[in-house]
Symmetry: C2
Subunit: 412 residues, 2 copies
DNA sequence: GAACCTTTTGTGAAAATCCCCAAAAAGTGA
DNA sequence: TCACTTTTTGGGGATTTTCACAAAAGGTTC
């Protein structure tokens, strides 16, 4: 056959599955159709020859994440997003991928899906490539229908999510009903995750985000929405062994991928605590916002904190400052140390802070201060003397830590 | 001479010093007259023979504290407070005291002073004892005059102190003027010290307190007053090298002496911070009251804390609890640990608390828990896993500590 | 009761921390 | 300048802490 022949795909067909079988018949190889997020839309059944990647894709109704990652790294997906020509993929044994050809399905300037053809017995010819292009074109309309249906659902879920975030849904039954209508199974525990971008999120970035979230298979994202420069997610924490660390891991990977794949950098992820009661979503959301505000005030000390839980004392530093303002308290030890520093041009206060920052570890703190461990020891002895500090008393140390940070806070 | 002869002290005399010389002449030995607080009121000058204790008493215009302590320990002062008979004191070399005889001066049921006669060359006879009794009786009126003058001054200072404590004196000049009128030199820094008794202070105890305070030579007590079951002091912190520890030391000694000497137990001392501005006395006073209230709530954890400075996190636990109530926050790690404890009948939470209480010292904590250090290590590993706690992060640990204590606070 | 898991305790070697001493360097004041 | 104090650094040994491993004890489940 040649591309000058009659287009075999210009026939009516009811379902995408039927269409997949048609392509499979024409090209004589197994065919899979995915949406832009690599979710399985349809697959041919007439042919039993297949590879393990295709099997897991069909079983999971989506392309396995490690396969997607591999295809990104190796350049296939970036290529598919640039051209509407078929792309040949060499077999990748690590992920069970045999030789195949892929083509992207376009709607104007946007990729809305992919067709995959496995080259199990035969390699596809140039003519086959042309047929594939025609098939991609023919698939477009069917996919668009699916998309609009999805869009409507998405709109409804957006509205619902904002109601939850702002605490407008107060009745448990009502919340559960909404989840049911949107065909989302509410999980027994959840967290709110916010990614703050350094500028407002463009619609192009929105698509990229959507792609990343949909292709992610680590966590179940129940709802998500975008607000100016913030991407807000409601994530299920059900069945996770270490929810906090897994959520953190996920956000790190997301930030990494946004940078690597789309060149979007400076994204700050923040997490709420984990809750079971859906009426507390608003509170969880407020937690994330408060983390963001603290991170702005203490960028250095909170650089590894993304989680409201782990904010530690920073959770209430603002509150304390207010108390302090009212009572004109001053930390006696710190005052004396400051005085000494001033008089003798030393830096006992800084030494103390770094020591406390480093969890009382002399070696680590000495390294950070670029002094000998014995020097630090000596200074600590002096600090204990001058400031009348007992370094065996956790309470005293905490107070010093808090007051040191409060000083900084005030300095801002 | 015998006691049947004419009383040689029934003559008029202008000053107590003159009177001391008279006694000295009659008894033929050096004589010293003190008030009830062992402050020097008068001493004979006709005789140069003396001992080192007397010299320091005259130089310092008060009996040295170590001498007083010795006389208490050894029973002389308690005896003098019981009887109006002369008491003989054997020489005590450690404090430079040679043989002497003492007698107390009474006004009704109360001792208002002492007369000391040194037995340098001769021992006093029974007749001399009778004479001493007559002398003590004759000294009474003179001492009473001095007392009433003092009382008036004390009343004025009481009023002044309360004005300071309640913040009614806001002008620096006015405060200084008051100090000047009362012939008190205001020191450059001060602290408020409160002793809380377990019941209202009786007038008998008031005298004992006054005695202890006046005979103390460690610290300069600028003002003091009594309010129901509280003894409130304004103490100078000038010239002290380690004011906080010296103040603590002083309060410990005071509590000890009240117990040992007068059988008054269960006294809780509390200290404010150290301030320089006299307008902050009210604040300092409020600090002490807040320490007392915290100590009531956390008797165990604050059992070694007497100082607002050293309250540490307990300084603001109440405030935090309020915040927590509003935001319905729960510490994820603690929740998980509690759950685990419940399910497996373990005590990870308690373990964690004791570990944190002991400044992360595994050995100490293991001892307190009565388990092997390795057991504690194992538990901590489990705590880190189950509660997703990183024990290298001081911030996380502080948060756990705070939340643990808050739980207790709520439990109260 | 057997199989399995969790917890406790013990042992010992490696690693680290602590502590004392002393020398050098830096700073201070007459 | 010199004497003096304070601070820094280094060495090295005693002590503690840490860690891995193993055995025993206690609990749970089938």
């Amino acid at each position: 056959m040649s591309n000058r022949l009659h287009d075999p795909f210009r026939t009516a067909f009811d379902s995408l599955d039927e269409f997949a079988d048609l392509i499979s018949q024409v090209l004589k190889c197994p065919v899979t159709i995915e949406d832009s997020n690599h979710r399985l839309l349809a697959y041919s059944t007439h042919d039993e020859r297949t590879d393990s990647a295709r099997i897991s894709t069909i079983i999971g109704r989506r392309v396995p994440e490690k396969v997607i990652n591999q295809l990104w790294k190796e350049g296939t997906i970036p290529a598919l997003l640039k051209t509407n020509e078929p792309i040949r993929v060499k077999s990748i044994d690590e992920v069970g991928l045999s030789n195949r050809v892929a083509i992207s399905i376009w709607k104007q300037e946007e990729v809305i899906g992919f067709i995959w053809a496995l080259e199990i017995d035969k390699s596809l010819t140039d003519d086959d490539f042309s047929l594939l292009k025609q098939a991609a074109d023919a698939a477009k309309n069917k996919l668009l229908q699916l998309q609009t249906r999805k869009n409507k659902k998405e709109e409804r879920s957006q509205e619902f999510f904002w109601k939850l975030l702002t605490g407008h849904l107060k009745v448990q039954e009502e919340i559960l009903e909404n989840f049911h209508t949107l065909q989302i199974t509410p999980s027994s525990s959840f967290a709110v995750l916010v990614f703050q971008f350094n500028k407002n999120i463009t619609s192009k970035e929105e698509q990229n985000i959507s792609y990343l979230l949909k292709t992610n298979q680590r966590l179940k994202i129940m709802l998500y929405t975008i607000d100016c420069n913030q991407l807000i997610l409601l994530i299920s924490a059900e069945g996770l062994e270490n929810p906090l660390s897994e959520l953190e891991q996920f956000s790190k990977v997301f930030v990494l991928k946004m940078g690597d794949r789309y060149g979007v950098r400076d994204i700050t992820p923040v997490l709420s605590g984990i809750y079971k009661d859906y009426q507390k979503i608003r509170q969880a959301y407020e937690e994330t916002l408060s983390v963001l505000s603290v991170k702005q005030k203490f960028p250095f000390e909170t650089k590894d904190i993304y989680n409201y839980q782990k904010l530690g004392i920073y959770q209430f530093l603002g509150l304390l400052l207010e108390k302090r303002k009212n009572e004109e308290y001053e930390n006696y030890s710190l005052t004396k140390l400051h005085d000494y520093d001033q008089k003798h041009n030393s830096n006992l206060v800084e030494t103390l802070e770094i020591f406390l920052n480093n969890d009382n570890n002399i070696n680590d703190a000495a390294k950070e201060l670029n002094v000998h461990a014995n020097t630090l020891n000596y200074r600590l002895k002096r600090i204990a003397e001058i400031g009348e500090v007992n370094f065996k008393d956790p309470n005293q140390k905490m107070m010093l830590y808090v007051d040191l940070k409060l000083e900084k806070y005030q300095g801002i």
